[in-house]
Symmetry: D2
Subunit: 252 residues, 4 copies
């Protein structure tokens, strides 16, 4: 289980969120410092100071840090602060970037492109694996379809298919997929029942004031409330609902 | 739980399937007698003799019958044989048909069009409800997207959304959605964890010889084997895994 | 060239439109009397009285009538009023309907389903041809994609492909495709340059008061103004821009 | 008009192609030296030696060079060889890359992402413009839809819309859009009739032996044969069919 805000916004924000998820037994903190935004006029992230803030609070609460590397030229800056390097969906087909990233030795979370077939997603992972990095984690985050009822369409069957066709762990990101906090709980349960090995969920202490993607961030108490129901599905799948387990497996 | 072949093909076929699903505790038998096929040169169904065969074996095993009404002109023929009238995805936007069908008094299973938004699906249900038929059951069966890894993309979040926006029961059809028998189990579990009230699954005694949609039909023993795992998810959702329950609720 | 309102709304409306398009040299009048609307609460058409109004003004100005048959049960009513029977995109996969319609002997305009591949579209035409009706006209009207910049995405290359794979004439409907009157002119020119044999365009004397699809209807003077530019493309394709030609070829 | 092979493969290949297009009056030569390929096991391009080959033959025939910058880390290498820097569709949402590229002072050809709305495409251009580079050229290259009749779906109406919403020139790439050399001619004509300011077309001396994208490359004589028909559409749009014009406007 990975939880945290879309973007690091302030020391207070990341501190409150980190403390809360830590108390709930979550082992990995997510947060963006460089944000890929559709419009150049939107909030673009706090950059390196944001990474520092996140690293500090993560250490205080013994959390691992998951954060996106938006471009090869930012790798050196981001690398020391991150425990898991995230490749965003917009970069899944950026093959030169993937080749270079594959030479690093930290776990990589590879999001599925919103226009990528399952085969293209697995071939993108192959670019990372060829560089010698074997700690590749796939993450389904919804694909783009004609239906705008939700931000994207969560493709839960793709999770099962990716697990059948590869040996890699597969997570789901129900926040990006739905874009709607009221649908994050069923989306999460649905992903787990399709075989997902973990979830990455956006939470925020004040989603209504978030500088990016507020509507898809859970309130901290909403997050807490969904965990028992989620745990029942996790257990029905024959897994233990120890939310830190993943971080331990990855040896962070 | 609704199970049965894509199409009724012979007395022996439907007898074996009906007996097996009945023994497994399933209460509703599906089977097509008029098949909407993309090509006019494909098998088009046994028509009324097929309906007779299905009705006979269903009565023998105390099963309800779910079958498609392909056109208004076939309603009179199909009506006496069916317990639930199915509207196929190709007909979901056939509004004149829906208006007339809404005047009948048998439960109607309304499949989501493969190009329909959730709002359009609910408005199609409205056409049925306006006719005075209040026994409308929605059925998510996958939407058409760019990804051809599976036949369609099962939209499990749409199940949760349809339940939030309406009071109607929502089923899922993992066979049509995936087109691949190896993915029916995770698709079924995923749909249930998203809140689906039931499933409609294609099973066949000899899928490799099926006259239509063989690749997406479960072998009878595959179907039997998936039920215990499925039951665990059903129970984790706080529901009882009595597969006949739905038929009873609908008073068939 | 086929022109006319989305729906027949009143004698005055259809009279003004018919007179204008006739003066501009157009030979075929379109207009819906039974409208397939997403919501049951939207205007559903004037029904048979609308057909009568349209037939009367069409005769007054020597125009052919193109109108949709929404359901088999309406065929007998619509048949005497129409010169070309239109199958709407929502009905393109309604195979029982197509089979029966193929037994008639009036030209049929088969719209492409908004979720249909080119192959599925041609196989739907095959259902009509098998019934013995050889006057099948295809009509591309845009497909449903992730991009909502326009109502649908006009697939001009599909026009060229359909002409390569079959011997049938292919029209385009730029009004349905774009949903935006400001884009109808480039869409029309683009379709013709891809090989379209004709166009079906929605025009209205007062689009802002139209009971359906006003935003995609051209003002009558807009329609008149686009014809010279369109004629230049038609001529560049080696065809004559006599807008009545099509009606004559079809012997109406 | 921009023409050339998908990828530079050898001195002989690029020499023959450059000579031919130059004789036909084309002013810009395209060719990839770094190729973004879905599979890491596919041909990845000749890299800098390929750029040198292309620059040499371009100079011999007074052609401008259009080539892709796949990653920021390759900008310094590619820059001296190129007259127009191409941003591939996979990079259209790579915002950090766009920001940096906007600081250069050579014209930039920005391909539309295969999953990008028109608004997202224009906002991506805004990232380039904000850097101070005002020579941004848009290029529609087909979007990803459910229909696999063609490689992508050429969205000709998007060309008209992009021109309406911005002041930037818009090209079309019918090769990437269709993936089928037999459809390049109608696709090209359709794009021009929708208002495209230019075309980028893949040609090859031996498409059947091409190391990438052979099926969508025109034979050199096919290319020559389509020019007169294309010129008629260009002229009908009130433009001159001097294929070098574009290069001159861009002052290369």
């Amino acid at each position: 289980m990975i939880a945290g805000p879309c973007a690091v916004e302030s020391e207070e924000q990341i501190e409150v969120i980190a403390r809360t998820i830590s108390q709930l037994g979550v082992g990995l903190l997510r947060g963006g410092a460089y944000k890929p935004r559709t419009s150049p006029y939107s909030f673009q992230g706090l950059k390196e100071p944001g990474l520092k803030l996140m690293r500090n609070v993560a250490d205080r609460y013994s959390l691992g840090v998951v954060t996106e590397v938006m471009d090869l030229s930012l790798l050196e800056t981001v690398y020391p602060y991150a425990d898991i390097l995230q490749v965003g969906s917009r970069n899944m087909k950026n093959y030169h970037f993937l080749k270079e990233l594959g030479k690093t030795r930290k776990p990589i979370l590879l999001k599925r492109g919103m226009d990528a077939t399952v085969e293209e997603w697995l071939l993108a992972a192959e670019y990372l694996l060829l560089g010698g990095n074997e700690q590749v984690i796939l993450c389904e985050r919804g694909i783009r379809t004609f239906d705008d009822s939700t931000r994207n369409t969560l493709d839960t069957v793709a999770i099962a298919l990716a697990k059948e066709l590869s040996h890699l762990p597969v997570l789901a990101d129900p926040s990006q997929a739905t874009g709607n906090r009221d649908l994050i709980k069923p989306a999460s349960m649905s992903a787990v029942a399709s075989g997902a090995d973990g979830l990455m969920i956006e939470v925020h202490d004040h989603p209504e004031k978030a500088l990016s993607d507020g509507p898809q961030s859970l309130y901290l108490d909403q997050f807490e409330e969904m965990l028992p129901d989620l745990a029942r599905i996790v257990n029905a799948m024959g897994r233990t609902s120890n939310w830190k387990q993943e971080a331990e497996v990855l040896d962070i």
